[in-house]
Symmetry: C2
Subunit: 163 residues, 2 copies
């Protein structure tokens, strides 16, 4: 396979910076989970932000299908980098981030910090953030596939996109 041209570019600092900014600036994203009943990959929309260590986290209700799914199987992925204009959606940079979901205990020190951070980014969440069925889930990146537009594909490590 040595003569097969690779479509993956060698990771450079420009790719790392783009990846970090896509993740940190994302206010909403698509999340992919495994449907517990059918095994299908299911995609829905969530709002998110990142914590101090760069790890994304979401506020989610146990009434939501994606929450039930990650409680059953923590393997999930994020698609970040949303086109906010009418331009070509395949030119807009985006990144797929496979993650392992971890529930944040409500009585933990981390919970208070995440709550404050989340409200800074999503002030409207104040209306429901303390409801009993809502909680925080850290989505710990296992790697990333960055697509910076045609011919600009990179496979990144967690270290490339965090910190």
């Amino acid at each position: 396979m040595a003569d097969k041209p690779s479509v993956i570019r060698e990771t450079d600092n420009e790719a790392r910076e783009l990846a970090k900014s896509l993740l940190r600036e994302a206010r909403f994203a698509a999340i992919g989970v495994l449907d517990p009943e059918t095994g299908f990959p299911a995609v829905s929309r969530i709002i998110l932000t990142t914590s101090d260590d760069g790890v994304p986290f979401i506020l989610a209700s146990t009434l939501a299908a994606h929450t039930q799914a990650i409680l059953k199987d923590p393997r999930c992925s994020l698609l970040v980098g949303e086109p906010q204009d009418k331009g070509d959606p395949l030119v807009h940079p985006r990144m797929t981030v496979p993650c392992i979901a971890e529930k944040v205990a409500k009585d933990s020190d981390a919970h208070g910090r995440l709550r404050e951070r989340f409200l800074t980014t999503h002030p409207k969440a104040k209306l429901y953030i303390d409801f009993g069925d809502f909680g925080f889930y850290r989505l710990v990146p296992q790697g990333a596939a960055l697509n910076g537009g045609f011919g600009k594909a990179f496979l990144l490590t967690p270290a490339d996109i965090l910190g």
Copy 2:
């Protein structure tokens, strides 16, 4: 569980119409597939349109990870309904559509019709639509979860969103 309040509303024509318009007007979407190597649900961005029967279809390269995934396991899902403004992303209607992917044979009558239809919606695809590694895949809906905003959730059948 009879006394547990359901968060799913009864399907009405307003929901069906919203669902059909979300699917038919989608020019790009997030697709969730099963990663053949890891089993993770992976989400990426694709451009799409619908055929005469309302079934969505995509133009995809065999070099793309999502194409390799659906060729291995045709179970996938679409998230349609993209916010195109700076408003609250959780207020914007969106819909998750679990689908079975079917490759369209290049020598079939359907191929020519889909090619014409795709170019009408995505004229820029003319640059690569005939490349050898590109092909059409029909994503046949198995149902749909419509979220019209807070408290407006519906579970729909294929008949509700097609035709």
